[in-house]
């Protein structure tokens, strides 16, 4: 009998795992159980090209339905309400049972929600999936004033898109800088200036005290008594791993599903990948949970290999990007454990990068530039961080010299 492999969750990590398993195993029955009616699609364009009407639904799918059929990967749109790890059974909302030999959990993460008052809480929009992006796009039609709560990647990307559609943006962030969880403040300040030059109002160090609905508008009161009137409120205040289904089971949870470097959980034949996994990173010798495109993909591929019996350690250097206006922000490695910062470049047009070093070795870098101006050097940084190489900081800071030589054989 062919092995039955079920993948819980229908996002990027699930799809890459499924295709990797198929590449290595012609006969396994592979089924993705997704809660969305759409086959797996790219999320990064939702806050950018999709809002800007440059791309539509069909442009976002990682692969076509036909490709899934050809590769014999089943996509079932269903909601699983119970996992029985003793008997390897998944139970769906419509009371169907699925028995697995191997289970991969790639349920991703969900929006952290604001709780202000019951009158308006349900009218605050969030953007994580295609349905939510469609709702926001529809709701924003004909509206002029938009309040964005949260100055992370998603809030800033939405601010950028709607600003390009000539809307008035106010963005309120509780922290003293934008993107404070991961981006160094020097780079975050440049992003703030850029948004302000484009006309966006960025308000730091403030919280929302009260929101009142007046006719079709909202009156927002900040904790310093500033008032903002808005037609639409969108919040992007972080996400939490989607693990509700596994509470009170024997699956080990701690800020997500705890996995080792091979995507294995504490239960035999149960794996986890992507946003939902708090995985052990052998290079950093610690557990981490990442929410990024690159991670969802590579972790899925790694899970797929391990499920196929190809023992593969996951040791990717973290990398993420955000596109706002014509700016491209990139971050690689770890930027919060350093004893030296080396700056490269002075102008956003040419790209500005801050390298974070410890004991002369590059640990991470964060760069900001027009379009792809920082990409090559950030990529070189990833390679240097992976190899723990000692580097000459005078070369890093000299933009007239290409860094390629640092990685050439």
């Amino acid at each position: 009998m062919n092995k039955k492999i079920f993948i819980l969750g229908g996002g990027q990590s699930a799809l890459y795992a499924a295709r990797e398993i198929r590449k290595n195993n012609r006969d396994a029955e592979i089924t993705i159980l997704g809660e969305e009616k759409f086959i797996p699609y790219e999320r990064p364009p939702l806050s950018k090209d999709f809002l800007l009407n440059k791309r539509i639904d069909e442009d976002l799918y990682f692969c076509s339905k036909e490709t899934l059929e050809e590769e014999k990967i089943n996509y079932l749109n269903t909601i699983i309400i119970k996992v029985d790890f003793e008997n390897n059974i998944l139970v769906s909302e419509d009371n169907k049972q699925y028995t697995y030999d191997t289970l991969l959990i790639s349920t991703g993460s969900k929006n952290r929600k604001l709780i202000i008052n019951s009158e308006v809480d349900d009218e605050i929009f969030y953007l994580r999936n295609l349905e939510e992006a469609k709702n926001i796009k529809e709701k924003a039609l004909g509206k002029k004033n938009i309040l964005i709560i949260g100055g992370g990647f998603i809030g800033l990307e939405i601010a950028s898109s709607f600003s390009q559609l000539n809307k008035n943006i106010s963005l309120v962030e509780v922290g003293n800088q934008l993107m404070g969880r991961i981006i160094p403040n020097q780079i975050a300040d440049l992003v703030k200036q850029f948004h302000e030059n484009e006309g966006n109002k960025i308000i730091l160090n403030k919280t929302i005290s009260e929101i009142t609905k007046i006719n079709e508008k909202y009156k927002i009161l900040l904790n310093d008594n500033t008032e903002i009137i808005s037609d639409l409120i969108i919040a992007g205040i972080g996400s939490i791993p989607n693990v509700g289904l596994f509470e009170n089971t024997k699956l080990k949870l701690d800020n997500g599903i705890v996995t080792n470097e091979f995507c294995e959980t504490n239960i035999k034949n149960v794996y986890a990948s992507g946003d939902v996994s708090n995985f052990y990173h052998p290079l950093y010798a610690k557990y981490m949970r990442l929410e990024s495109y690159q991670h969802a993909q590579n972790h899925g591929l790694c899970a797929g290999k391990n499920i196929s019996g190809i023992k593969t350690e996951y040791s990717s250097i973290p990398w993420m990007w955000s596109d706002q206006f014509n700016l491209n922000l990139q971050l690689t490695g770890i930027c919060d454990d350093y004893d030296e910062i080396v700056e490269r470049g002075k102008r956003i047009d040419d790209g500005i990068i801050h390298f974070f070093l410890k004991n002369k070795k590059i640990k991470g870098a964060c760069g900001l530039g027009i379009a792809g101006k920082v990409g090559r050097d950030i990529r070189i940084t990833s390679k240097l961080a992976e190899k723990n190489t000692i580097v000459d900081s005078s070369l890093l800071s000299d933009q007239s010299q290409k860094l390629n030589k640092l990685i050439q054989k």
């Binding site: 495109y293 596109d323 792809g372 990409g375 090559r376 990529r379 390629n404 050439q408």
Partner: protein, 105 residues
């Protein structure tokens, strides 16, 4: 008549080994590469999103997009790594008297 389609890009020493330069001709833009075994040319713009590959990283026979790390084979144009899905168009290249030419049409 056949030679009319060969457009001069520049001298061979204008590109370092395992590197590339941007070349614009009329309303089109290209990347011209110097690999260990010769010169190659592709379209200049990534097939994923409109960003020029001139700022990308050349590694062995591959070019990696500087914006989202899509990877293409320089010789065949094949898209090797997501988010790039569509292949990159490639162009014939020849070297004559230390000058590089690409055939655009």
């Amino acid at each position: 008549m056949a030679d009319e389609n060969w457009i001069e890009v520049g001298s061979t020493d204008s590109i370092e080994e395992e590197d590339l330069i941007r070349f614009d001709h009329q309303d089109k833009t290209f990347c011209v590469y110097r690999l260990t075994d010769g010169f190659y040319a592709t379209d200049g713009i990534c097939t994923h999103e409109a960003v020029h590959l001139e700022d990308g990283l050349v590694m062995d026979d591959e070019i990696e997009c500087p914006m989202h790390q899509g990877i293409f084979n320089i010789k065949s144009g094949e898209a090797l790594s997501p988010p790039a899905c569509d292949d990159l168009k490639t162009y014939p290249v020849k070297v004559d008297n230390d000058k590089i030419f690409i055939k655009i049409n």
